[in-house]
C-alpha cells in the first residue's frame, strides 16, 4: 500500500481564446474562466483509480498558486482525492514561478507526507514547460516514468508504458517513483455537483513558500509575450501549371 501525491494546476480553461495583454507582459487572466489542467485531470484519475483498486492507501493533491487554486483542489477532491495541500503564492511571485521552484516544493511535500508515488500531468496547457515531473524526480533522486500511457502495479514497483516518438516503450521501475501522465492514460471522470459539495468537507492544508523552505526568487525575466503570427490568406490559382510553378517557387516541390 502506498501513498500517492498528485499535482494539480489551475490554468486558463482549454476552450478559452487566449488574449495577450497590450503591454506584452503576459496574457489576460482577469475575468477569464479557469479550470484544472487537462493533463492533471488525467493524473488525478489515475491516482484515484489506484485507490479504488486498493493499490494506494491515500491520495493527496497538491496545488501551488493563487487563492483561487483552492477551487481547482476542490475539483480534485470531488474526483476522489482524500485531502489537499495548497501552497499559496500569488501576484508577481506566481507569474515568475518556474518548474524549478514547483519541483522543489513537490519534493519537500512528498518527503514530509511520506509519499511513495508522485503522479503529475506531463505539462500544463498554459506555459507548456513539461519539466516539473522530470525535475521533481531529479530533486528527490527517484526514478522517473514520464509520458505514461499505461501504469500497472507489480511486486514492489511499477510497469509503465511510455509514449515515445514513433511508438511505445515499456519500462519497469521501483518505488518510490515519479510518473507523468500522457493524454491516452485514461479518461478522467466528471466532477459532479453533489461530489463538489461533499468535497467541501475534505481538508485542505494551506502553506506558504516559506513553510516548505523553497526560495521563490525568479531565475528568469519575461521580456515580451506576443501573439503567434496570423496565418497568411491563401490565393486561388487559375490552373495546375501555375500551381506547380508557384509550389516550385516556394520550394515545396522539386
Amino acid at each position: 500500500m502506498s501513498r500517492v501525491l498528485v499535482g494539480v494546476k489551475r490554468v486558463i480553461d482549454y476552450a478559452v481564446k487566449i488574449r495577450v495583454k497590450p503591454d506584452k507582459s503576459g496574457v489576460v487572466t482577469e475575468g477569464v474562466k479557469h479550470s484544472m489542467n487537462p493533463f492533471d485531470e488525467i493524473a488525478v484519475e489515475e491516482a484515484v483509480k489506484m485507490k479504488e483498486k486498493k493499490l494506494a492507501s491515500e491520495v493527496i493533491a497538491l496545488s501551488v498558486g493563487p487563492p483561487q487554486s483552492q477551487e481547482t483542489l476542490r475539483t480534485a477532491l470531488a474526483m476522489g482525492v482524500d485531502r489537499g495541500i495548497h501552497i499559496e503564492i500569488s501576484g508577481k511571485d506566481y507569474e515568475m514561478l518556474q518548474p524549478i521552484h514547483i519541483s522543489k516544493m513537490f519534493a519537500k511535500i512528498a518527503q514530509d507526507e511520506k509519499c511513495d508515488l508522485i503522479v503529475l500531468g506531463k505539462q500544463a496547457i498554459d506555459d507548456d514547460s513539461n519539466q516539473t515531473a522530470q525535475m521533481t524526480a531529479a530533486v528527490l533522486d527517484w526514478p522517473q516514468a514520464v509520458f505514461a500511457s499505461a501504469v500497472e502495479k507489480t511486486d514492489g514497483g511499477l510497469k509503465v508504458v511510455r509514449e515515445i516518438d514513433g511508438g511505445l516503450e515499456t519500462i519497469t521501475t521501483k518505488l518510490p517513483a515519479v510518473v507523468s501522465a500522457d493524454l491516452r492514460l485514461n479518461i478522467p471522470r466528471y466532477a459532479t455537483l453533489p461530489n463538489i459539495m461533499k468535497a467541501k468537507k475534505k481538508p485542505i492544508k494551506k502553506l506558504s513558500a516559506a513553510d516548505v523552505g523553497v526560495d521563490i526568487k525568479p531565475r528568469i525575466e519575461v521580456i515580451s509575450v506576443e501573439d503567434p503570427p496570423i496565418r497568411q490568406a491563401g490565393s486561388i490559382v487559375p490552373d495546375i501549371d501555375t500551381l506547380v510553378s508557384k509550389l516550385k517557387e516556394a520550394g515545396h516541390v522539386k
Binding site: 482549454y14 476552450a15 496547457i125 493524454l183 479518461i187 466528471y190 459532479t192 455537483l193 453533489p194
Partner: protein, 82 residues
C-alpha cells in the same frame, strides 16, 4: 433513495452539465431539458418511471462523454501530430 429524489437528482445533474454545453444558447438547452421532464410529471407507474430514469441517465452519460471527447480532441490537435 426514493424514485422521486432520484428523478430530482438526475434533473439537477443534467441542468448542471448543460451549463457548459458547447452552444450559443445554454438557456435554450436548459429549458428544453425542463420541458422534457415536465412532460412526464404525471406519470405514476413505477416501472415506466424507472425506464425514464434509465433514459435520463443514459443522456447524462452521453453529455459527459461528449465533453470528455471534446477536450481530448482539443488536446490531441494541439500537442500531437498524428
Amino acid at each position: 433513495m426514493s424514485q422521486r429524489s432520484r428523478v430530482i437528482a438526475l434533473y439537477k445533474h443534467i441542468q448542471y452539465l448543460l451549463r457548459e454545453y458547447p452552444t450559443d444558447d445554454v438557456r435554450k438547452m436548459q429549458i428544453a431539458c425542463k420541458k422534457a421532464f415536465a412532460k412526464n410529471k404525471d406519470e405514476t407507474d413505477p416501472k415506466k418511471i424507472e425506464e425514464m430514469i434509465a433514459r435520463g441517465e443514459y443522456v447524462s452519460k452521453e453529455i459527459e462523454t461528449l465533453y470528455a471527447l471534446k477536450k481530448y480532441r482539443a488536446m490531441k490537435r494541439r500537442y500531437y501530430d498524428d
